[in-house]
Amino acid sequence: MNPTLDKLLGGKQGAIGLAVLAALILVVFPLLLDAFRLNMVGKYLTYAFVAVGLVLCWGYGGILSLGQGIFFGLGGYCMAMFLKLEASDPESTKIQSTPGIPDFMDWNQITELPMLWQPFHSFGFTLLAVIAVPVLLALVIGLTMFKRRVGDVYFSIVTQAIALILTVLIIGQQGYTGGVNGITDLKTLMGWDIRTDEAKLILYFVSAFLLFGCILLARFIIASKLGRLLLAMRDKEERVRFSGYDVASFKIFVFCVGAAFSAIGGAMFTLQVGFMSPSFVGIVPSIEMVIFAAVGGRLSLLGAVYGALLVNFGKTYFSESFPELWLYLMGGLFIAVVMYFPNGLAGLWDSHGKRWLTRIKPKANAPVKTEPVAKPVAKAAPTPELETTP
């Protein structure tokens, strides 16, 4: 096989895993679920972008950002600003005292579109800003923190504090940001109504394909020399530094990639859900995004997608049916994953699922003869066999 392609797919096993996930997302869900539920899965998939970015940063790079909501939110807000401007043309806002500006500005006695909003009339600029604004912020944070060799723990706390600052800022500057309610009532994208079932189906597929694009890119990074350096850095940072590598720049790079993934997720979130609010930016959503990656397995890109889907299914189900139980469950999940399954679902699959698969396979392939031979051996030396028989 072509070596680059092989790298991307992660060998035979990686290719199978990717195919299974693709079948699930692209075929099974659209066929089985109604428009409302499919839109919900689409929303969960946008969280999977963040989780995939976290696998890169945290699982491989060893940097735990507790502020991925910042980038998710910034991407989402950039998209929402464009859509809001389109929704508030002078014609449909003529009852306002200043027509042509978003409704929440009018409520806050702002009479002119702020400078910050002006460029978001252009769709090209918006697409650029969705990626560029979060990545620039990540770059600044990364440059200042990693170049000074700030430790992992401090980095986590500072990113969390930045998430807090951004939330307080968005809520406080109601006239410019829509405040607590966020930017709502988004209607069309370049004249195309995004609220119809058909549009939601198309947007679902767009975000699914973008997600697979991100997964392939992340796989490429992990399989390259950079990926090995990241792992080496995570385990023995000093040694990598002594070998002559600039550790900080690798960390900054992977942090920026994570930010870009989150931002794409945020923009797709806005398009599918139809609004953006500070409740997706702050400390709580940011740390919940970490648990998606942790449940899926911090070293598994595909696991991150499953983690995001499962935790969110659980959240929706339990907070609809047993709201009392949900926080216990979520809290328990955090504790259990960290203490007992540090590699998440992917780790469980590696230790149990694969063994189960290989146990079936030899039965089918291997000649019948070996079986009776294998058993007495197991009885003679029980200790190694004990572990495998549950």
């Binding site: 945290w58 401090y154 500072v158 740390i287 504790i335 960290v338």
Partner: protein, 305 residues
């Protein structure tokens, strides 16, 4: 001359306001300075230990009101001790069941204790309901103290301030003047060597964590004199508290005091000129900017790593 005295009164009250915020921040940060600053454990559930203290005080206050009204004026001292004991005991259990298994993985401690905080919040909600509750204050904590006619200083603020000074002094003596404190500092600086010279590091860890949680409980008891308590009351301040400890420079008690003071004064002075949310944004941003330039915090002890 009249405007001058009026200005003086405003300045005094504004200054006292800043001092109250400082006491609140410092009370919260003291426990964390022990747990995070000395042990390096990131306890995201620290705010919930504070809430334990606050709810303990509430329960003691309601029980006193119901069964022993004569005990009313003095119940608060009893509540403080009880808050310390309960929060400390729960902290001891948490260290035994969870933290002790995660010392090698600080980032995982962060996630696990966040989970713990969610569980504790929901437990509070199930027991005490989602509504905020407040303890009945004894007579001597209500009203205010008027040194002059125009200056008006609330008594509960004075009480919290006194408690803060007392608690800080006790912690200082324990950490820097007692044999136990010596063992704690030795363990944190070099665990292997400490074990080699005969310190039971496991016991030191457990006691230190329990003490930090107990101090948080006392802080919670003190808060009931200022405001009401809800299930999520503690989690609102957890990030600010971490910033105070980090900004002061971990492992430095004096740094924690200085950073709590500067953050509190900056915030309350700015609040005089702009909205509360902008004051908070500017204060926190300034803290982070300074931390980016000086990651070790304001005061740091030099440790060879």
């Amino acid at each position: 001359m009249e405007w001058l005295s009026e200005f003086g009164a405003i300045a005094a009250m504004q200054g006292f306001n800043g001092l109250s915020v400082f006491c609140v921040l410092l009370l919260m940060a003291l426990g964390l300075a022990i747990i995070f600053g000395q042990m390096g454990v990131i306890n995201m559930a620290h705010g919930e230990f504070l809430t334990i203290g606050a709810y303990t005080t509430f329960v003691v206050s309601s029980l006193t009101e119901q069964y022993a009204p004569a005990f009313g004026p003095y119940y608060f001292f009893f509540a403080i001790v009880l808050s310390f004991l309960i929060a400390g005991a729960i902290g001891w259990l948490v260290e035994w069941a969870m933290i002790s298994k995660l010392y090698q993985r600080p980032l995982d401690t962060l996630l696990a204790t966040w989970g713990l905080s969610l569980v504790m919040q929901q437990t509070f909600r199930s027991i005490f309901g989602a509504r905020e509750v407040s303890a009945t204050l004894p007579e001597w904590l209500m009203g205010s103290w008027n040194p002059t006619e125009t200056i008006d200083i609330p008594r509960n603020g004075l009480f919290v301030m006194g408690l803060t000074i007392l608690l800080t002094a006790i912690i200082f003596l324990m950490l820097y003047r007692s044999r136990w404190g010596l063992q704690v500092r030795a363990t944190m600086q070099n665990r292997v060597m400490s074990r080699a010279v005969g310190i039971n590091t496991k016991r030191v860890d457990r006691m230190t964590f329990a003490l930090g949680c107990g101090v948080a409980g006392v802080a919670g008891a003190a808060f009931t004199t200022i405001g009401s308590t809800g299930p999520t009351a503690g989690s609102l301040y957890i990030v600010d508290t971490f910033l105070v400890v980090v900004f002061g420079g971990a492992a430095s008690l004096f740094g924690t005091i200085a950073s709590a003071f500067s953050i509190a004064q900056a915030q309350s002075i700015m609040e005089f000129f702009m909205s509360g949310s902008m004051a908070k944004v500017l204060t926190l941003s300034a803290v982070i900017l300074i931390l980016m330039m000086r990651p070790q915090g304001l005061f740091s002890i030099k440790v060879r790593k």
